[in-house]
């Protein structure tokens, strides 16, 4: 496949090659990094990247950088890093083999070559992709399709039980409300009068009023009985049936049958 016209680029490979050949017109902005520059130099050397001489490539790169420097072109740091690394690789390749060095310089050179091949492969593949029959450029879909529509139909869900339950609840909510007071455990005055009257016969001596209360009454009933029994005692005293005695304020209230 011919590389011409494949790149939708203002810089084609061919132009780049020319630039590499004539270092005096180099435009550093055109390179996408040192690897890109290396690849262009390599392609200049041979079309088949597997057959290039890494040593020659390193030499070309270093010369290129040196020339850029003498022209006082400002180089990005990564170009210089690459130059330093390549200088190291070059000297390693030229030195007698040292089996203790791992990876060996040959191995490093091979990896560099592989990287160049890989970048080159992607560059060419990108160009071939761009050259395909592309939708909107080479092939066309309908400009104004009718379009497909999804009409949403909402279905509402409610079952019969929900319906009548809802009505039951509304009805329950709006029913008239009756207030019924719960029956409480109390001892009425009448009950207390009966109880105290009947028990007073046993009380010949002074007896506390608490003795007249039911023995095992609930605390609430006991309070009610105490209040009622007190009133009953007052009533009986008024009638002259009993005597009342209290030694001091809050002291036990005692009653006995009137002599």
């Amino acid at each position: 496949m011919n590389a011409d016209g494949l790149f939708e680029e203002d810089i084609t490979l061919r132009e780049a090659d020319e630039r590499a050949a004539d270092v005096l017109t180099i435009d550093i902005d055109g390179w996408e990094g040192p690897l890109d520059l290396l690849l262009t130099l390599a392609r200049n050397q041979k079309v088949d990247l597997r057959a290039i001489s890494i040593l020659a490539l390193v030499e070309q790169y270093l010369v290129f950088i040196e020339q850029a420097r003498t022209l006082k072109l400002e180089l990005a740091a990564d170009y210089l890093v690459m130059a330093a690394w390549l200088a190291y690789l070059k000297s390693s390749l030229l030195l007698p083999k040292d089996p203790t060095i791992d990876p060996s310089p040959e191995e490093l050179a091979m990896r560099l070559q592989l990287r160049l091949e890989r970048l080159n492969a992607m560059r060419e593949s990108g160009a071939r992709l761009m050259a395909r029959d592309r939708v909107g450029r080479d092939v066309f879909v309908r400009a104004l399709p009718e379009g497909l529509r999804v009409v949403k139909a909402r279905a509402w869900e409610c079952d019969y039980f929900d319906l009548i339950t809802a009505y039951g609840q509304i009805k329950a909510r709006s029913q008239p409300v009756f207030h019924v007071v719960k029956k409480r455990a109390v001892m009425t005055l009448e009950e207390a009068l009966d109880r105290v009257s009947s028990m007073i016969g046993l009380a010949v001596n002074w007896t506390t009023i608490e003795s007249f209360l039911p023995d095992h009454a609930e605390p609430a009933l006991r309070k009610s009985a105490l209040a009622s029994s007190f009133v009953a005692a007052l009533e009986l005293a008024k009638r002259g049936t009993i005597d009342l005695q209290q030694d001091a304020m809050f002291a036990p209230l005692k009653i006995r049958l009137k002599a």
Binding site: F140, L148, V151, A153, R154, E157, C158, Q169
Partner: protein
């Protein structure tokens, strides 16, 4: 059975397919070139597409492709979305069913809560409730009643099939527990109604 096709017909076919507007024979010629007998190609295409899912049609002097008219129904796909009625909507529906015809104010009086416009809209959208005229009182409010679709959906022969208050009581649906439950959910109802309003936007 691949037949070598007339290049002119192919060219006209592709041009019309990609066109942004219907094209006259003159328009088409500008694309396919003067050597092409455009009317002849259009005739062949018309014949070829007769009875297919795509048709070549002429409107005035212009030509365009369109999907066959009898297949238009395919291009609209209905997708059903089932949603549960909100509690407010269920209660409103129940009140209408038991008391119809009722006005909105009457529904609110029975429920003890205001209902949003959306609630009635949802019930009408569901096809269960319809406006049934106006009440002849001051303000002439709209009144609502249930539809035959309502009876069908709930499996009722008539509204007389709805359980009476005594039936509800017997079924325990008027128990104080339900009342408590009702009270408890009372506060949440406004939320439910709000949701419906949003849905109808």
């Amino acid at each position: 059975m691949m037949i070598e096709l007339d290049p002119d017909v192919r060219a006209v076919e592709a041009t019309l397919f990609a066109a942004e507007h219907p094209m006259t024979a003159e328009n088409i010629r500008n694309y396919v070139g003067d050597t092409v007998d455009v009317p002849a190609a259009l005739n062949k295409l018309c014949e070829h597409y007769g009875g297919r899912g795509i048709e070549l049609v002429q409107r005035g002097n212009s030509w365009h492709f369109q999907t066959a008219a009898d297949l238009a129904h395919l291009l609209r796909r209905e997708r059903e979305e089932t949603r549960k009625l909100s509690r407010a909507a269920v209660e409103t529906l129940a009140i209408i069913a038991y008391h119809e015809p009722v006005s909105r104010a009457e529904i609110e009086a029975i429920r003890g809560v205001q209902i949003s416009k959306g609630t009635l809209d949802v019930l009408m959208e569901a096809g269960w409730v319809r406006p049934a005229g106006r009440r002849e009182v001051p303000g002439r409010p709209l009144i609502y009643a249930t539809t035959s679709g309502f009876l069908t959906h709930f499996g009722l022969t008539s509204r007389k099939d709805l359980p009476g208050i005594d039936d509800l009581k017997a079924a325990g649906l008027l128990d104080p527990i339900d009342m408590a439950l009702g009270d408890m959910q009372f506060g949440e109802e406004s939320d439910g109604e709000l949701e419906i309003v949003e849905d109808n936007d």
